[in-house]
């Protein structure tokens, strides 16, 4: 299969399409945690109980109320091959937790992969909406519509005082985790990122690397999300994040202008060098890939590199990861083989545009 066919058939909407502020905001994610009232949380559930939760949720997803929200398919984690599971994690459609720790784990996926509902993860339900670009409000509107449609058929664990009850006390209340993934090379190269990140943590938000808790920010990508779920309404939480993200976007734009004004030649040298490496390297590891991709994307945004699609950052940051590399190769690859395959996949992808 050619790289362009592979991309067409295996990538999610957020990777293919643009959204508002796409030059800085890669994607927007809304995740909502919900539990059913009559069943223990997944951590204590027996196989039978988990199976019952899965069948209740499957019925709700296949109901008439749900049809208006699009075409959904329920995939059981146990029935998906290793490489495909890995690819779903790399696309950010399911969590590693669902793959590794879940009993009777499953995901209800909308055909465009904008909506995915994880079943029997840490909570019975984790509704996720993943949009390209900066679309917090639309993301919440879709997530709450999916939530309402599920609730037509399911009895939720809800308490008037504590709100939606969740397995972990850090999610109770609204159960909402809203996040934006941002590409911030300007703030990193002008050494302003540290100051901004510490300011963010003072307004109830957290910053993480791109693959969730515990991972470092590589490729100048930062995921910013709300930390608190109890005491504020969903609208307030979304608005707070939107305001802060909006300010970061403005700072990043200023930083990029400053870079071009003060250091045009060295930035141009840097981005073109990185392009040269991606276009010609025969062997490359994933960390270097992310750094070079970040440079090339900055070069595209600043008009220094032309004729290359801005989407290559989103596409390649996902399809150069181990699961996707092996999916494309059609066989399992040993870690040392992957670096060679990765370089060749990147070269093929860059040739599509040239």
């Amino acid at each position: 299969m050619s790289v362009s066919d592979f991309l067409k058939h295996t990538t999610a909407t957020w990777m293919k399409e643009d959204g508002p502020e796409s030059d800085i905001v890669i994607s927007t994610r809304i995740r909502v945690a919900r539990n059913l009232s009559a069943s223990p949380f997944p951590v204590l559930a027996t196989e039978n109980m988990a199976q019952e939760v899965l069948s209740k949720v499957t019925n709700a997803v296949m109901s008439d109320e749900f049809a208006a929200l699009g075409k959904f398919e329920v995939l059981k984690i146990g029935e998906i091959g290793n490489i495909d599971r890995e690819a779903l994690v790399e696309k950010h459609l399911i969590s590693r937790n669902l793959v590794e720790d879940s009993r009777v784990g499953a995901v209800a996926m909308r055909s465009d992969e904008v909506v995915s509902i994880m079943i029997n993860e840490e909570d019975h339900l984790r509704i996720q909406v993943l949009y390209p670009g900066f679309q917090l409000e639309d993301g919440w509107n879709l997530a709450t519509a999916v939530d309402d449609a599920l609730e037509q058929r399911l009895e939720y664990a809800f308490d008037e005082k504590r709100g939606y009850l969740t397995a972990c006390p850090t999610n109770v209340g609204t159960g909402i985790r809203a996040s934006v993934m941002m590409h911030l090379p300007g703030l990193v190269h002008t050494n302003q990122i540290g100051r901004i990140l510490s300011a963010i943590s003072q307004v109830g938000l957290v910053v993480r690397g791109i693959y969730g808790e515990g991972s470092d920010a590589i490729g100048n990508l930062f995921q910013i999300s709300n930390q608190l779920t109890l005491g504020q309404s969903e609208a307030d939480i979304i608005e707070n994040l939107a305001v802060v993200a909006g300010q970061i976007i403005a700072h990043e734009r200023t930083a990029r202008k400053q870079l071009v004004m003060e250091n045009r030649d060295s930035i141009e040298d840097r981005v073109c060098r990185s392009f040269g490496i991606l276009a010609n390297a025969r062997k490359i590891d994933s960390k270097e890939t992310m750094q070079r991709l970040s440079d090339v994307r900055l070069g595209i945004d600043l008009g220094m590199i032309q004729g290359v699609s801005a989407n290559i950052l989103k596409e390649l940051m996902v399809i150069t990861r181990p699961g996707f590399l092996q999916k494309y190769a059609g066989v399992e690859l040993a870690p040392q083989e992957r670096d060679w395959r990765r370089a060749s996949l990147i070269r093929e992808r860059l040739q599509i545009d040239r």
Partner: protein, 175 residues
């Protein structure tokens, strides 16, 4: 000096915690220090959200005299408060009721607030929605009375009565 945690073994590990400028010192034996190891950052796996929560909960039971009995237990799933404080996860939705006496300080530490003000389930939350409306109207009513706007107050009172009678007559009061 004996361990401040178990009081049985000699303290060999000294742990200092500084919160908002105020210093807390703990003198622990090796066994208790190991139990708190994750919190002290001495385990190679570092710092998980579970251990952080467990830490918050354990600090809760130290120093401050514990008002609730130690043996809080959820009758539905069998989880005890001590188990909860170790894993940092509830076992089922009824745990929230069972551990209610100890939840406020925990939730305040995590979230700042303790009461949900967001979305209510669209289908099953009708009663709660009405109760919230009544609360809001009562609030407005007090305000109008203080400002001596009695006509507006009377109309608010009628609205409250109407909602209250709907609630009283509603056959499906949930839970």
């Amino acid at each position: 000096m004996d361990c401040s945690e178990c009081g049985n073994r000699p303290a060999t590990v000294y742990f200092t915690k500084i919160t908002n400028g105020s210093k807390t010192e703990m003198h622990l034996c090796e066994v208790c220090a190991k139990e708190k190891g994750e919190l002290l950052g001495t385990t190679p796996n570092g710092f998980s959200i579970n251990s952080l929560l467990a830490g918050i909960l354990n600090f809760e039971s130290q120093g401050i005299p514990v008002s609730a009995p130690q043996t809080l237990r959820c009758n539905t799933c069998g989880l005890t408060f001590n188990q909860f404080s170790q894993i940092g996860r509830f076992g089922c939705s009824d745990c929230y009721q069972a551990f209610e006496p100890r939840l406020d300080p925990l939730l305040r530490r995590i979230h700042g607030g303790t009461t949900h003000t967001g979305k209510i389930p669209a289908r099953s939350g009708g009663v709660i929605q009405k109760r919230r409306e009544i609360d809001q109207l009562r609030h407005q009513l007090n305000d109008r009375i203080q400002k001596e706007k009695f006509e507006e107050a009377a109309s608010l009172r009628d609205q409250i009565r109407a909602l209250e009678s709907e609630l009283g007559g509603s056959p499906n009061v949930s839970e």
